[in-house]
Point group: D2
């Protein structure tokens, strides 16, 4: 019961990197949505490996077959299952990983967790490949959110030491976020895209890897989404974001920088804007008490450098219980930050939809309450 | 269904800051633990307000009455309920907050969420006071973890610009963590404690507030705890940590700093140490694929500056839907970082115990598996 | 995590029969309901012991103290906690039960389950007394359902061999159900009330006990409540009903009698009634595919004879592991069927409210769909 | 979030009767079980339609393709997905059902629930065909339970007025239960098998249908499984059993017959048997307080007559909102009781495994506790 997430919608992700197939069941999804299959394919393509020098050489069509939950192109409301068959598997590349675990990867911990029975090929169920069904499910959720006027978008904040302009957390807009979805290297300042690719190429040539930070914005959310204490937006989003392999940190609004600020700097003053309550700044990332206040929800996620690098590393031989050397083979990205962007968009969409569907029954409007 | 958390154990937190009482039900807790009531009282005291110039003037005994789940001083295994009555409430101080919401606080969002019916006094259910039952439940969990050789401890990494030494993530030890639990200002480098108090006092005098970062370590965890994808240690811990008011960021191991590192720098090389698999560095915070690898689990949390500050602030009048000024009254800490430490210890204990109790059935050891 | 139930609302029941107190946290309950405290007290009184010769001699005021979740008499939407202190406890009566378990009771199984640490006094957490917080929580849920036009009521179908008239499953009405709530012995045919009391008195004089069947109806439910497969009304209701001590069977509509019917007898023919779809018969208890069809939801529950009887019984001595004799002391009802009625009403209200709050998002009405 | 069930293991069932495929994800299943694929195929065959005159004419191979969670024939511990493609679909047979809903079926309620977007063909997600993935998942669970010495078996207690001998609830044994698994018409008294088939054939010739009762036994369960209040065995099992289409009643032990018994008749006296606590009778079906007492767990389920019958029935035309007549076409069993037996075995196995995996941590054995 570990690969299942959600309350109002529930996703159940399955599969191993080099098994027969991977996929996801999406239970509780709203009925009546006409799926945009082209857009779905476009998101799958964004995540897919092998579309550039900076990506793994593995070539997978990542064609999703929908087995259920869609009738005449429209969601039925009953569980929606999509599967992707694994095609280009070269499992021989990974034969040793059960004995010589890769540093920074789950080869060792997965083996302990499952008593040695987990499928070790290509990381098995721990593989980044499992983010493909996440993108599939998330893009469907995003299409629903779109009908509610909610837009999600992400840009690469940094790759190694190359830094993009951050979002303006008060004014980030729909067209800006939609544009990012179409870019090979989604950045606010286009001039840094090539620098980022260069940093990745440098790492590749050095048989090394690099990481980075992705910043995501969600706009169009009504105030009042989320609940205290444990079902607040930060808690639910983070539980989803930390489920993406390689994510090691999540911060909302100004995040860790808030530690050096004073209250008067960190507080976002309220003001009335055409009958709506807004804040003049957005250091809190659109969330007060973990509940949306109507401003853009903004957060950042760190994606660590790919653990699978080609230079020789120290490890242990689990068979002989001795120290050993390892030279990783196979096909590995020197940087997964770019491919992580659609995954983060998708994961965000899943979490936001689950929160949005929370029942919020109020017997009658309290006249004491002001404008919401 | 928002103030309930957990799977194997489940806590249900209730109460409002100025209502009759607050408390928690802890369901699924192991039977047979003789509670150390002195240690429980000590942890409650660490969190309690009013124990220093840097803390709120509100004075609460925070005496917990245990209604159930303990018989002859030993846990029964059936639900354990502890309640704390609110004594020193001056609700008149908060009368205006429903009309003039405090910036950075949940006054506005809570009101929207509950249609204006939530108890506005002192933040109601959103109040930091709700962390008292969390400390109660968490300390009981910690006492159980102690019987399993698991130790949790935290130090204040920063308050504003005052910086403590970080944990040595490979070698942090039991006595070090236990010592922190006894310190008024828990820091690794004692020389910075007074500087931190000075920074808080400066903020108080300026009718302002400051935040900081807390670093936590958990040691004694066996490898193999946690599960892919969504029930990994990072996802579960973060969902608990982000439920604590004022927490705006969580990072594991080197966290956001990993974004500027290469894979060869970030990977923690394995080696054999007396028959045990260990890593030479611990940039991943004891977690590979979100599963414990036997090294200390280390993470940091940012606590934003207290939102309630005494200097005049801009806000809106929700009755008239116009801009307004607000001077917060009442009793508020200029810094909650110090009091957050026992809360973070407690929250960590709850999350770790919940994960530790996961069934992990393996039909038979696989001889192919090496040392675990 | 065993005494927690629900998804949209979540109740967490705690307490032991002879401990300090018992109670319940109700999380996720709608904001804005003005509680009718008199009606709440009336329901608590219906369940309370000691109100007749046929009931246990234990005398408990069962005064509920609300600690949270209600402000100015109106629900806040945040967790609502109610506690009841145990007053009239004579634990000495139960001292032996840990050694000599009562047949038919949970003394033995509870002890095995909790390694001997559970509170054995009066059945501890297994006691029927734990239904008091259930009535408290359920009555609050029922008051909310009432605002939605939903009425719940139950009558005693049988006590031993005394049989009441069943509900007319197509025409059972609001006033009929509300009347039952006011009756000391709630029956459709008043002439059988005294016979039932006589059957109970006979059992009491014989130092024995009797059981019976309760029939419950829920009216005013819109069609379309419940979901396939596992969240259908029958599955959710039964999971709640079987949680009430002494319930050993649950059947919907004609229930077990359907086994002897043909399809043409069992199917409920649809017809149009003033623009509404209705059925001419109601053998399926208002549920098709586990989803409400707009007809009354009708079900029956069997309540076994009280396990605690005063005549001497065979048991075992768990200390010496030998056969033994037991004469139960203490205060026990010779029949709990009458007191079970408000418990079943309450449990039904909780389950129905949880289902009613399910989000049921449909992007747009399908013009292909007919009248609902 | 309706087609997902379980806590320690979690199944997510998907598919529609006439869609591309159906299947199930089984998350949390133990690692290391070598699957017996022949036994799996045998159970699938027991449920499969078209294997007799008494069964539907639809012919489906029901070949399950395992996509994940099994490596080298052994379970990996990560999610196990099995899919079954729909082959022999004749959807034209069902074209009218969206307009003329079948009495006793979910055609109408499903349409209301999903705003008319659910797949109406063959009952869509409500179809009995969805029990095929349940059998698949359940048989895998049963194979695991077998390694723990737990045996599950069921016989047909009645079909219409033909009655089989009940289980001896104290002495029902392994070989008896295993034998039932191999019988075309699983009964204790073989002489009634042909009578049952005759009753089914009579119904078929009359263009009608019949129902019945199935009795199930689970033996080999240790005492102490299950928890108060809501996670007791009866509550969890019933929530699973009522999820099977056509089940309208569930009773444990003597069930509804307990209503006419006295306490002295209903209580099961304890005695010592070779160092084990046993009961002389088993009117409570192996469960005290909803927790196993070590005796066989015995329960009965009523399966209503197939709703789809060929004789003309009254219904409504949802398009025109007028009364109408319906003659069901397609392929339908005149009795599904026989095919329901493997489904009930499977559902029982899933529920029992989920309960068996509950963590039951006790700090130390209480010397006060006797033999368990």
């Amino acid at each position: 019961m570990s690969s299942t997430w959600g309350r109002n919608i529930r996703i159940s992700v399955f599969g191993e990197s080099h098994g027969t197939g991977i996929g996801v069941v999406l239970d509780g999804f709203p009925a009546g949505l006409a799926l945009d299959m082209d857009q779905l394919a476009a998101e799958m393509a964004r995540r897919r490996p092998g579309t550039g020098r900076h990506a793994t050489a593995r070539s997978e069509a990542d064609q999703v077959e929908i087995l259920s939950g869609v009738h005449n192109g429209i969601t039925t409301g009953t569980p929606l299952c999509g599967i992707i068959r694994n095609m280009d598997t070269k499992s021989v590349d990974y034969a040793d990983l059960q004995i010589l675990p890769r540093p920074g990867h789950a080869d060792y911990t997965g083996q302990v967790r499952y008593g040695g029975f987990n499928d070790p090929r290509g990381g098995g169920h721990f593989s980044g490949r499992l983010t493909a069904p996440l993108v599939f499910a998330g893009e469907i959720c995003r299409q629903y959110l779109e009908t509610k006027g909610i837009t999600i978008g992400s840009h690469i904040q940094t790759i190694r030491d190359v830094i993009d302009c951050p979002f303006d957390p008060c004014r980030v807009g729909v067209s800006e976020l939609e544009l990012l979805r179409t870019m090979a290297v989604p950045v606010n300042d286009r001039s840094c895209a090539q620098e980022m690719l260069d940093a990745v190429e440098d790492a590749r040539l050095a048989m090394n890897s690099v990481g980075g930070i992705v910043e995501t914005a969600v706009i169009g959310l009504q105030p009042g989404i989320g609940s205290p204490m444990f079902r607040n937006v930060e808690a639910r989003l983070s539980s989803m974001l930390f489920s993406i392999p390689a994510v090691k940190g999540v911060e909302f609004g100004d995040g860790f920088a808030l530690s050096a600020m004073t209250g008067s700097e960190a507080n976002d003053a309220f003001y009335m804007d055409n009958g709506h309550v807004r804040t003049r700044t957005n250091h809190n990332g659109g969330l007060n008490g973990g509940i949306t206040n109507g401003m853009p929800v903004v957060f950042r996620v760190v994606v660590k450098p790919t653990a699978s690098i080609f230079m020789e590393q120290e490890t242990v031989n689990l068979k002989t219980a001795t120290d050993a050397k390892l030279s990783v083979k196979g096909r590995h990205d020197p940087c997964i930050v770019i491919r992580a962007v659609p995954v983060l968009d998708a994961a965000t969409a899943i979490a936001i939809l689950d929160l949005l569907l929370d029942p919020n029954p109020v017997v009658a409007a309290n006249p004491a309450a002001g404008p919401g």
